[in-house]
């Protein structure tokens, strides 16, 4: 089969994760043909392929053109990483205007806003994460090549987190673990704003297991994506209120000063923004 990779507006972290698969990836590529990948091979044109791994969101006229071209030439598109799936950190806010005036006008136009990949093309499979762990990318690629159902994580980060919910939780919220939270204590219970309860699992709780708050890089959990009854803001507020005993309006007030940290990766995701109970800054 023919495989391709394309990076749009991205930091390269998803590509590093792909490359970190190592020998299993190289062996797989040797059995198939890489039809286009400026990362891996020296071919300079987008050519037809069975599956293409696309990282990054759309931030420029060139990226929009590339996205449309791969849709024309590819059978199946896998969106790799949170930028491709939700728009990623680029969606935090509009950026200032950038001049694209070359001597002969050849630089791509940079847009002030980002858009996730599926705003322009039809996506077959989504692999969120910033970056997604290598085994998740490999599983997605193999599932398309071999025709099986890929791994799906409908649980939240809390399901993988080794920390335990305490009976008496802190009523004040902060962004920093301070001198460290004991290894057995839930970060939210210790008063650290952690998005674990509202974020899709599958990352093996990489951040919370070393005492750092989850920032929601794998995007909202299935519960939030599938129902208007749920939302990142509303669910997190409810969770903190229930576990700390603090009144919901007090929790909301504390979170109101730091709203954007709830949407570091999803500020430009149309699904997240469409939830009536969300408070995405800029709305």
């Amino acid at each position: 089969m023919y495989i391709a990779t394309v990076a749009l507006s991205a930091c390269g972290g998803c590509e590093n994760s792909l490359l970190s698969i190592g020998e299993p990836l190289i062996a797989l590529l040797s059995e198939h043909t890489v039809s286009f990948s400026s990362l891996l091979v020296d071919r300079h044109t987008v050519s037809p392929c069975d599956v293409v791994l696309v990282s990054g969101c759309i931030r420029s006229s060139e990226e929009e053109e590339v996205a449309l071209e791969i849709e024309r030439t590819s059978r199946k598109i896998i969106a790799v990483g949170t930028c491709a799936v939700y728009g990623g950190i680029g969606g935090l806010r509009k950026r200032p205007e950038v001049s694209s005036e070359d001597d002969d006008g050849a630089l791509p136009e940079i847009y002030r806003d980002v858009a996730p990949l599926d705003s322009s093309v039809a996506v077959e499979l989504y692999v969120p994460g910033c970056p997604p762990q290598p085994h998740l990318i490999m599983d997605a690629l193999k599932s398309v090549l071999e025709g099986y159902t890929p791994l799906h994580f409908d649980s939240t980060v809390c399901s993988d987190c080794p920390r335990k919910v305490a009976r008496k939780a802190s009523k004040s919220l902060q962004l920093h673990p301070g001198p460290g939270v004991p290894g057995s204590t839930c970060l939210l219970n210790a008063g650290v704003v952690c998005l674990g309860p509202v974020t899709r699992g599958g990352c093996r709780a990489a951040c919370t297991s070393v005492g750092t708050a989850c920032t929601g890089c794998r995007g909202p959990s299935d519960a939030i994506l599938s129902s208007q009854m749920h939302a990142i803001h509303a669910d997190l507020t409810g969770y903190i209120s229930r576990t700390s005993g603090a009144r919901q309006d007090k929790v909301e007030k504390q979170l109101s000063n730091i709203l954007e940290v709830l949407y570091l990766f999803t500020g430009k995701d149309p699904v997240t923004r469409s939830r009536v109970k969300e408070r995405v800054p800029g709305d």
Partner: protein, 455 residues
């Protein structure tokens, strides 16, 4: 793909340019433009960054304590180093002191990230140019090498897997070290993690040494190109401690490729000497260090500054390289051997830190108050020196932020060197596949990351 264009607005009627797009086996999207006079002489070659994400503007107005997690996404490869520089800048602005144990873990994690990055770069980007220099594009890649020399690729990927697993044990994540937070680290490693990481690193030694021998052999094969090749212009530069390259150094040292003793600047003096030299034709903004331009940062620069006695294996390997060739190493054909040497160096540094004896009962993170102020930090990353400057307002939010990345420091050198290589290799207005490959090799030898360079 190469395309031919007329250059609009040029004083030279009939001037043309050839565009090579995209540059392959690098991270990010870029092209090379070669500009010609009407009589088909090369005027200039330009490596152009075609993307821009505006990371600095994303953190403006954000709570300073969450900014490092956004700034870590400046670069997929050097993300951990940007995260570290962001934390250090915020700490400097707030006057926070990091405890020695936390500082040691930060460095340990960064050495492992540097080793992992170099092993990846060698495997996928550099090795094809050196192992299969004359091959067709269809096979000049990692799969092509895998088919003819599986063992070499296996050695590299085995080492990468071990380093990544060690990172997972110590930092929670093999790409962006969640453990590095403003004020220190969120958790110190326990005995189990230290012992597992040590075991994993011990298993890498033979693979890294064998890779060094391979790099040496492949570099020797390029002897003729080394003798006749275009020399690098300007200065090589890196963060140093006691005159030796370091991730977190106490000064920045630079020396001329033409020889002479290194000069040193402190971090403040270095940042004050940096000047932007924007160009209209690229989203990468070149940076010049006054009095030291053009400069080159990255693996070759650090290797030229020499490894210290605390890493005897790397120092021995570096010495062998200097004996066989010259000092300073001054062209693109030393790129692979610089990566291989540095992979051993960073592995050895990490191993030394693991063996230092850890006190996991000490506080990993200093409690500190976010106050208004300005702070800066300079660190060396896999791709070279980078600097951050943070301004924090009274409400604890970022009011202004500036990132200076390795490709920006290298950019004047990249284009000057690329122009020299193009002048020597391009004949007429046609660019053959071989010449296109040569131009890309010249760019690749700076280990460019366009995403980081344009941020």
């Amino acid at each position: 793909m190469t395309e031919l264009f007329d250059v609009e607005g040029s004083d030279d009627l009939g001037a043309q340019k050839v565009r090579l797009y995209p540059v392959t086996r690098i991270q990010g999207r870029a092209d090379i433009e070669v500009h010609f006079t009407a009589d088909q002489a090369v005027v200039e070659a330009r490596f152009r960054g075609l993307e821009s994400r505006g990371i600095e503007s994303l953190v403006e107005g954000m709570p300073a304590l969450r900014a490092p997690q956004v700034l870590a996404r400046t670069c997929g490869t050097c993300g951990g180093f940007h995260q570290l520089a962001a934390c250090m800048s915020i700490e400097a602005a707030c006057g926070a002191e990091v405890a020695p144990e936390a500082q040691a873990l930060r460095e340990l994690v960064c050495w492992l990230l540097l080793a992992a990055s170099h092993v990846r770069t060698m495997t996928y980007f550099a090795l094809p140019d050196f192992a299969l220099p004359m091959s067709d594009a269809a096979v000049k890649n990692v799969s092509g090498i895998y088919m003819i020399d599986q063992e070499s690729v296996t050695r590299l990927t085995r080492a990468l897997a071990s380093i990544n697993e060690a990172l997972q044990c110590l930092a929670g994540n093999q790409f962006l070290p969640a453990v590095i937070v403003p004020g220190g680290v969120s958790k110190l490693p326990d005995e189990t993690a230290i012992s597992k990481a040590s075991e994993l690193l011990e298993g890498c030694e033979d693979d890294l040494r064998e890779t060094m021998r391979l790099a040496e052999m492949l570099t020797r094969r390029e002897s003729r190109m080394i003798e006749t090749g275009t020399p690098l212009p300007g200065y090589y530069m890196a963060s140093t401690s006691d005159g030796r390259p370091a991730i977190i150094g106490d000064e920045i040292s630079a020396a001329s490729f033409n020889g002479g003793e290194p000069v040193a600047l402190d971090a403040q003096g270095f940042i004050a000497a940096v000047e932007e030299r924007p160009v209209t034709w690229s989203y990468i903004v070149p940076l010049a260090v006054r009095g030291l331009e053009p400069a080159m940062v990255g693996p070759l620069a650090r290797l030229n500054l020499g490894f210290g006695e605390d890493t005897p294996i790397a120092a021995l390997e570096g010495g062998r390289v200097s004996e066989q060739w010259q000092h300073p190493l001054n062209n693109e054909f030393f790129f692979l051997i610089a990566l291989a040497c540095e992979a051993i160096w960073s592995w050895e540094k990490a191993r030394n830190l693991l063996e230092r004896g850890w006190d996991d009962t000490s506080s990993p993170c200093a409690p500190f108050e976010v106050v208004s102020g300005e702070g800066s930090a300079v660190v060396d990353s896999p791709r070279g020196t980078l600097a951050h400057v943070a301004q924090i307002d009274e409400s604890g939010k970022i009011s202004a932020y500036r990132i200076m990345s390795p490709l920006q420091f290298n950019y004047l050198t990249v284009n000057e060197y690329l122009t020299s290589v193009a002048s020597e290799t391009v004949r007429g207005i046609e660019i053959s596949d071989a010449v296109a490959a040569r131009l890309q090799l010249a760019v690749r030898s700076f280990n460019p990351c366009v995403s980081c360079g344009t941020h």
